[in-house]
Assembly symmetry: D2
Homo-oligomer: 359 residues x 4
C-alpha cells in the first residue's frame, strides 16, 4: 500500500510539510512493552532541524503526542496513533513556486500524477514526513533491544570524503559525538568542513550512510520475494533522496571470484556455527545467519540549491527559479536516525514473521 510499511508490524503515515501535523499509526506493536516517551523524543531530536549549524534553520519542537495504544506506560497491543504538530511553516516562501517545477524535486511528477499538489515546503514529498518513521522506529527499537538486537548507523561518506576502514575498527556509538555522525573523528572534521564550504557556496552535497545490526537471531527473512536484504533495500530506498543500496560486500564484491567472496563456516561458541569472514553481510539465501548485518545507502545531494536554476512552469514555459525556504546543505547527518528507524521496523516485522513460523 502506498503509505503503509510492513506486514505484521506496520506504519501508516500522513502529513505534509506545511499542513496541520504529520503523524501515523503503528499497528502490530507487541503488547506489554514499556514505552518511555523520552526515548521516542530522543530519536526525534536526532532528526530534528537546527541541531547544529550543518542543518536547516527551520525551528520545530517536533514534540510527539501518543494518542492511543499505550496504557499505564505499557503497550496494549492496539494501534498506536501519534502526531507532531507543524509550527514553524513559512509558507509564504513557497508562493513563488506555486506554478513552477523545481529541478530534481517531486513538484512535476506529483502535479502530473495527481493534478493538484500542496506546493508549500514540498508538501508530502518533504523529508519532514520521515519523522513518523522515527517514532515507529523508536517503538520497534524498544522491542528489539529486549531481544538483544542493536542497530547503529553512521555517515561513512560525504562527497569525496570517505571512511576507508571497516566498521569493526570504530566505536560506533561515538558517531553521535559529532555533528555529521561519523565515528572516524578525523574524517568527521573533514566532512564538517566540506559541508560548511558547500553551504557557503549555496550548494549541497550527497554521501553514504553505513548501518550495522548486531544480535539478530538466525532465520529472519523469507525465501523468494521477502528476502531480508530485499526488505531492507525496499525500506532504505523509500527514504527521501536515497539512490542506492548494497549489503555485505555489495557492488565491490561483484568484481571478485567465488573463492575470494565465500565465507567459510566454522564451529562457533556454544553449539552455534559462525563464519570465518562475513562478506555475505549476515544474510544468506535471504535469511539472517546470525552474523552482523551491514549495508550502505547512497543519498544524493539535496535538490534545493541557493543559486538560480533554469526550469519550466506549469505551462511548460522556461523560467528561472531561485528558491527561498530553509534547507540542509547535506541530509546525511539527519538521515542517520531515519536509516536506523527503517532498519528497526524491518527487523521487527521479520521477527514477528519468524515467531509465527515457530510451532
Amino acid at each position: 500500500m502506498r503509505n503503509t510499511f510492513g506486514t505484521l508490524f506496520t506504519l501508516t503515515t500522513f502529513g505534509e510539510s506545511h499542513g496541520a501535523a504529520v503523524g501515523g499509526i503503528v499497528d502490530g506493536m507487541p503488547s506489554g512493552v514499556t514505552v518511555n516517551i523520552d526515548d521516542i523524543q530522543h530519536e526525534l531530536n536526532r532528526r530534528k532541524p537546527g541541531q547544529s549549524n550543518l542543518t536547516t534553520s527551520r525551528c520545530e519542537a517536533d514534540q510527539v503526542e501518543l494518542l492511543s495504544g499505550v496504557f499505564d506506560g505499557r503497550t496494549t497491543g492496539t494501534p498506536i496513533g501519534f502526531l507532531v504538530r507543524n509550527t514553524d511553516q513559512n509558507s509564504a516562501d513557497y508562493e513563488s513556486i506555486r506554478e513552477v517545477f523545481r529541478p530534481s524535486h517531486a513538484d512535476y511528477t506529483y502535479q502530473i500524477k495527481y493534478g493538484v499538489r500542496d506546493y508549500r515546503g514540498g508538501g508530502r514529498a518533504s523529508a519532514r514526513i520521515t519523522l513518523s518513521r522515527i517514532v515507529a522506529g523508536a517503538l520497534a527499537k524498544c522491542v528489539l533491544r529486549s531481544e538483544g538486537i542493536s542497530i547503529k548507523a553512521y555517515t561513512s561518506q560525504v562527497g569525496e570524503i570517505k571512511v576507508d576502514e571497516d566498521y569493526r575498527k570504530f566505536n560506533l556509538a561515538s558517531a553521535e559525538l559529532n555533528a555529521v555522525r561519523c565515528p572516524d573523528e578525523l574524517k568527521a572534521q573533514e566532512m564538517e568542513q566540506l559541508i560548511k564550504r558547500v553551504k557557503a557556496e549555496g550548494d549541497t552535497v550527497g554521501g553514504v550512510i553505513t548501518c550495522v545490526i548486531k544480535g539478530c537471531p538466525i532465520g529472519l527473512g523469507e525465501p523468494e520475494f521477502g528476502k531480508l536484504h530485499a526488505q531492507l533495500g525496499h525500506a532504505m530506498l523509500s527514504i527521501n533522496a536515497a539512490k542506492g543500496f548494497e549489503y555485505g560486500t555489495g557492488f565491490e564484491g561483484c568484481i571478485k571470484r567465488g573463492s575470494q567472496q565465500n565465507d567459510s563456516f566454522v564451529p562457533g561458541v556454544a553449539n552455534n556455527i559462525s563464519t570465518l569472514t562475513n562478506r555475505s553481510g549476515g544474510i544468506q539465501g535471504g535469511i539472517s545467519n546470525g552474523e552482523d548485518i551491514y549495508f550502505r545507502v547512497a543519498f544524493k545531494p539535496v535538490a534545493t540549491i541557493l543559486t538560480t536554476q533554469n526550469t519550466v512552469n506549469k505551462d511548460g514555459r522556461p523560467v528561472s527559479v531561485n528558491p527561498k525556504g530553509r534547507h540542509d546543505p547535506c541530509v546525511l547527518p539527519r538521515a542517520v536516525p531515519i536509516v536506523e528507524a527503517m532498519a528497526a521496523m524491518t527487523l521487527l516485522d521479520a521477527l514477528l514473521a519468524l515467531k509465527s513460523e515457530q510451532f
Copy 2:
C-alpha cells in the same frame, strides 16, 4: 507475503530445483490480451541452461504449460496457472551435502529456520526457481509492449571488465547477439574470455547488469513506501545472488554537488516537459517523470566453486566440501532476462495502480 510478488499484478511461485515441477500463478493479468506461448517460451529459452559453453551443463527443456486463464488465445482476467516439469535432476550428486553446509549457500539458514530442507540442488534456494518469474515477466511484457513501454537489460560488468560508456551509446538489442549479453562487442569478448578462464580454474565471477526502460508514462510509483525505485530495488534484490541496486547516477552521484546532480526541466515535444539531463534516472519523488528509467544490479560470484572448501556439518563439526553438481561460472548472462522480467512485473503493477487512481 513470502512467495508472492506485487499488489495488483501478482506472481506467486512454488517449486524446488529437484522437485516435480516449478511454476506459479499470475493474478491480475488484464483480460483480452493476446498471449503467444512462443513469446513466453522465447524468454524462458534466454534463461535456460545450456545456451552456450558459459553456462551449466544441466539440460532442461524448460517447456512451460499454461493451465488456466487463457481462452482462445486471449487472457480472461482469471489467474494464469503454469508449470515447468523438472526433468534432468541428478539428485545423487547432492547426497554428499545432505548433512553439510556449503559456504555462502542457503543450506545453513534454511536448516535453522525450517528444521528441515530439501538439500537436492539447493532446493527452493536454487536459481532454477526464477523461471516462474520469467513466465510472469513475459506476460507482463505483453501488456507493456502494447502501452509502448520497452525494457532491455544487459551485462555491463563481469569481474574487472566493465562497459565504460553510457547505455545511450549502444544498440541494446545487439546484447542478445553474444553469449554474455553485452552490447559492447569488444567488452563482450573480454568478458567471455574471463568467464572461460575462471571456469577453467573451477572458480566463479560476479558482475553488474544494467537495465533501461523506455516509454513509461508519467506517474508510475507511489509516494512514501511505494516509491517506484524502492519497488524496483525490492524486485531486483529478490533475485538470487543480487547484492546491490542503484538507479540514476546511484552511488557515484552521491559524491557530487547539487548543482552537478540536478536535472533542469526544459520544454519538451508536444506539450510535454522533459529534462535536459537525466541523472535522476527517470524517477523523481519516487514517481516516473517520463524520461528513461535506468538502474544497475550487482551480482556476487556463484557460491559453488569446484575446489575443496572448509566448512562444518549439521553437528557443527569441521568438514571439507568439494561439490559435484552442475553450475554456472557466472550468472550474469542468464540473469539478464530475470532482471527484465522483474522490471516488467514491477512496472505493470505500478501501471495498474496508476489506472486505479485516474478518475
Copy 3:
C-alpha cells in the same frame, strides 16, 4: 492487517474510548475531490451520542479535525489523517471493572490475548471507535455520489418489531425523520416504544439493519475470494455487535427451489440488460450486475445491562457486576450510518479495483 480495512481505498484506525483521541488515516482517496468538512461532520452527527432519548447520555462534540491530504478544499491524493478528541470520559465509572470480566463483553478475551487492557469504557472494543469509519465512509461517499452511486441503510427490525414490506415500498430518505431511523412510520413508533420500555427495565434489545445501494456499475467485486458480497459481509461483520449478514433473499431464499429463486434476464433500457426479479441482490458470481444491491445485518442487544449479573474476576473467582457508565439500550439507530460508511468504503475499494482492470 488488524486495524486496516480495504485494499486500494484503505482506512487504518486508532483510539480507545477513554484515550486522548480516536482517529485514522484514509489512504487511496482519489485526488481532486472537493471535500466539505460539513458533510463529514453531518455523518458524524448521525452517529453521535445524545441525538435522542434513545441513546447514551455520554456527551461528545465528536468534532473531526482533518490533518492532511486536503489542500484548498480538494483532496491531493495523499493520505488523509484525522482525529476526534475524546472529551467526556467518566473513567472513574470503570474502576469497579478493572479486575472483572463483564458478561459478553471483550474484557476477558482482550485480557488473555494481550495480557493487559485499557478497561475504561471498553477501551479499543468500544463502539466509539467506529467514528473513524464514519469519517472514511463520508469521504468515500463524496466519490461515490459523483459516480451516481447512492447508499441508504435503515432499521428494519428491533426485537420482535419488524418491517414486513420490501424496501421498494418506502421512501428510504424518510428514515432519517425519526429517532430509530426506520422508513415505516408506524413501525418506527412501535420500535421507539419498545426501546423506551426496554430501557426503563435496565435492559437492551437487538435488531436488524437493511442497506440498499443503487447505481452501481456492473463489474464490482472479484471472483473467488474477493466476491463483492464476501467483502460486504466482512465489512459488516466487523461492526461491533454484528452477528449475521445476508444479501438478496439470504437465509429465506435457501428454502426455495431454483425455479423460484432464479432471476430472468430481460432487455433493459438503452442497450443494458436487467433482471425481472432481483433475488440475487444485485450480485451474481460475486460481481455486481447493475441491479440494486441490498443486504441485512443482525445486531445483538448491547451487552451492558443495568441489572446485577454474575461473572468472574481476573482470578477466576465468582463476583457480581452492576455496571455504571452510560450506554445505549439499542445500538440500531446509531449503527445505521456505520453500516452505510462500511458499505461506502467497500464499494469505493471495489470501484478502484475495477478502474485498474480497464485497459
Copy 4:
C-alpha cells in the same frame, strides 16, 4: 487480492471447470508437518462428484498431485504447489450457451467485467474450483489437529426440512454416514427424499450448513477489521452459492433482550474461565474465548435447472435456455467439506497471527 485467501497461511488458486487443470499454491504452511497424501485425497473424495445419486454425474478422479513443499513426507516451510487435472469435460454441452446468459449464473457479470469469458462449464465461476480449497483446508487441518482443534460441518437444513435441535444433541461424526451429511438420521432421510423429488422435477433446492469448531485457544482473531467472525464470514461468503452467514445465536438472537442473550462467566476447569451459556458462539469482541465456535451458512438452490427459462443473449435479445450439462440438484452435501476447509484455513491463519503476537 483477487485469488488469494489469508494473510499468513495463504491459498492462491487457479483453474477453470473445463481448462487443463485446477490447482493452487499454499504458502505459510508450517515446516516439519507430516503430510499424508491419503488424508488430502480423503477430503477431496468427500467433495467429489458422483459420490451418491444426489450429485452430478460428472465423473472426475480428482486425483491431486503435490508439486513442491513436501520432502520425505514432511513439509519444508516452502510453498506447496498442487494440481488436479480435469478429465471429464463435456465442453460440447456448453456450445449452446456461448452467447447466452443463463439466469442467476455469473455468465453476464463476467462477460461485462472482462469482455471475454470461458463459457464452458461455468469457467472460473464453477464450483469445481473449490477443490483447491479442499486441498489447502486438508493441509491446515493437519496442523490444527496437532493443536487439538477440530472442525465439523453438517447439513442442518434442506429446503423446508430443518434440524430443530442443537448441535450438542448429535454425534457430528455420524453426519458422514449418510449422503446428505446430516447427523439427525430421520431428518437426513427426509432431506434425501426431498432432494430426489426436486431432482426428478428438474429443479434444485438450497439449505443451510452448520459448522462447529472445538478446542480453539483463547485469542484467535484481531480487533477492528480482523474480528474472527468477520474473517470466518468472509471465508464462508466466498463459497459458491453462499447467501448468508451468522454465528452464535445469529439473526435469532437479535430479537432477544440483553438479559436473555448475555453469557455469564463461570469458573472453569484447571484455572480456566468458561461461560455458562454460549450464545456468543465462542467469539467475544472478535476474539475466540475458548468455547465452541459455531456458525451457519446459507446456500441458495443451484441456478442450473433442467427446465426452459427465459433470458437474453449477448446482444440483449430475448432467448430461451434449456441447459444441458451435469449438475447437482442440491449443493449442500458436497459443500460440507468446503465449509470445513475454509474454516480450517481461517483458523490456521488466525493461529499463526496469534503466535506472532506472543513475546
